[in-house]
């Protein structure tokens, strides 16, 4: 469903999306990396268990919350990829302990 624009000639950065290595253009957001990796849903709702994924991609809807480098509840659309970044689904409510 999502394809990169053909004229995109940026350098690639390697990240891990749910344990899978994916090369994405430098400057992409972690949410874009999840799309490129064809991850599908990126979290499950803590209230209903429903599968959810990014919706607005501009920091408003909070539907793209993911665990990034071990830190939960990150808005993946607002985080820019770095070499070696670990991007994981956030399943249910986060644990504090």
């Amino acid at each position: 469903m999502f394809r990169r624009l053909p004229e995109d000639a940026r350098a690639l950065v390697t990240v891990e999306v749910e344990g899978r290595t994916v090369a994405v253009p430098a400057g992409s957001s972690a949410a874009a990396a999840a799309l490129i990796a064809k991850l599908g849903y990126t979290r499950t709702s803590p209230a209903t268990g429903e599968k959810r994924a990014g919706y607005c991609f501009m920091g408003v809807c909070f539907d793209c919350l993911m665990v990034i480098d071990g830190e939960p509840s990150q808005q993946a659309c607002l985080v820019t990829v770095r070499e070696g970044m670990r991007i994981e689904r956030q399943l249910g409510a986060r644990r504090l302990g």
Binding site: A47, G92, R94, L96, G97
Partner: protein, 371 residues
């Protein structure tokens, strides 16, 4: 002119609970409400159904509150049956968590003082180990010394309670009239006429339960509403895995997992703005109690205005000059919703307040203050 047996002025939790109770008794009742801009404490509420700190200096308030905590389980079940809306009410007891020995000693003194005035609380003072046993998943801060625990306390979702009460009014064919604030009330020949933007409404009985709006409307009915606004500010976190199985004063985890942190007390007048200073104080204390909360994200803060009487206890009265006019004021609309719907609405339907409500008459504020 539309005519009812009774009209309740105020569609917040207090007015809606009384209106619901009247409708259940087959009183033909209308509940008049304001619009979205109402200063609605019901929408800012923390959601405790709370006994353990109520009634110091007024034992009748302790008894009345205990009665409401006894009625709440059936009240919540009945609302859910009538409307399909669950208020998320839980009664597992409630805590006041203490930092340092002085706070714990002060709680111990309060529990003793309250017990000596009314034996309704059954409050226990727990040391740190006993508290930890009640909240095994919560890591306690180093300064936590213990807590007071009252088995009658609980919590509910105040927004769902308000929604359920409004829905229940409809299910009992009572009229709920939004955007119909009472502008003026006239009493003539044993009947009341309420002027509203939606037209005049006539009733043989009127219940003034309009929160802050009651102050302006009370005098014309021979009622007395000496109230002032007190601002309370609340923080709420993202949804977290459940770690707090029972509510604490100022810290409760909702059914959906968010953690509410409250509440402040200050007096800026009719101002519901929030301040960074109050947010910082609330967050700081919460983290001293539960250090892991430092990693939780806050998603919102808001403020509401408590409807406060001079002694903090409710006011109930019937007018001496306009028989059939009643006044109900409190800042504990959630806690008292059950007793308002059952006992208070029952008394109003019968036409007179019982003797046990006499201590709540605002005449108590008229006593000479001479030293």
């Amino acid at each position: 002119m539309r005519t009812y047996d009774a009209v309740v002025i105020g569609g917040g939790i207090v007015g809606a609970a009384i209106g619901y109770g009247l409708a259940k008794r087959r009183v033909n009742v209308a509940v008049l409400d304001e619009g979205d801009t109402a200063l609605r404490a019901a929408r800012a509420n923390f959601g405790l159904v709370w006994l353990q700190s109520k009634g110091d200096g007024m034992p009748a308030y302790g008894h009345w509150t205990r009665r409401s905590t006894e009625l709440w389980p059936d009240f919540a079940a009945e609302l859910a049956d009538a409307t399909g809306i669950r208020t998320e009410y839980e009664k597992r007891g409630g805590l006041v968590i203490c930092l340092g020995e002085a706070e714990l000693e002060s709680r111990r003194q309060l529990a003793l003082r309250l017990h000596n005035q009314a034996a309704v609380y059954d409050t226990e003072v727990l040391d740190r180990a006993a508290l930890q046993a009640l909240v095994p998943k919560m890591r306690l801060g180093a300064e936590v010394t213990g807590a007071s625990y009252c088995p009658h306390d609980g919590h509910a979702n105040p927004l769902l309670l308000l929604k359920a009460l409004h829905a229940a009014l409809k299910s009992h064919v009572a009229a709920y009239l939004p955007d119909a604030p009472a502008r003026a009330i006239a009493y003539r020949g044993g009947s009341f006429t309420v002027e509203t933007p939606a037209g005049p409404i006539a009733a043989a009985r009127v219940v003034l339960a309009a929160g802050h709006g009651s102050a302006a409307l009370a005098p014309a009915l021979g009622l007395s509403a000496p109230i002032r606004p007190e601002r309370g500010q609340i923080l709420i976190t993202e949804r977290l895995d459940h770690f707090l199985p029972l509510p604490a004063s100022g810290l409760r985890q909702t059914a959906d997992g968010t953690v509410m942190i409250g509440a402040t007390h200050d007096n800026p007048g009719f101002d519901v703005s929030t301040t960074a200073d109050a947010s910082a104080k609330l967050a700081h204390r919460a983290v001293r109690i539960a250090p892991d909360l430092a990693r939780a994200r806050l998603v919102r803060t808001w403020a509401g205005l408590r409807v406060l009487t001079p002694d903090g206890c409710p006011i109930y009265m019937e007018s001496a000059t306009c028989p059939g006019a009643f006044l109900a004021i409190c800042h504990s609309g959630v806690t008292l919703a059950a007793v308002h719907a059952v006992d208070l609405a029952g008394a109003i339907a019968d036409g007179a307040l019982p003797a046990r409500l006499a201590p709540f008459h605002p005449g108590r504020f008229d006593v000479s203050k001479a030293a």
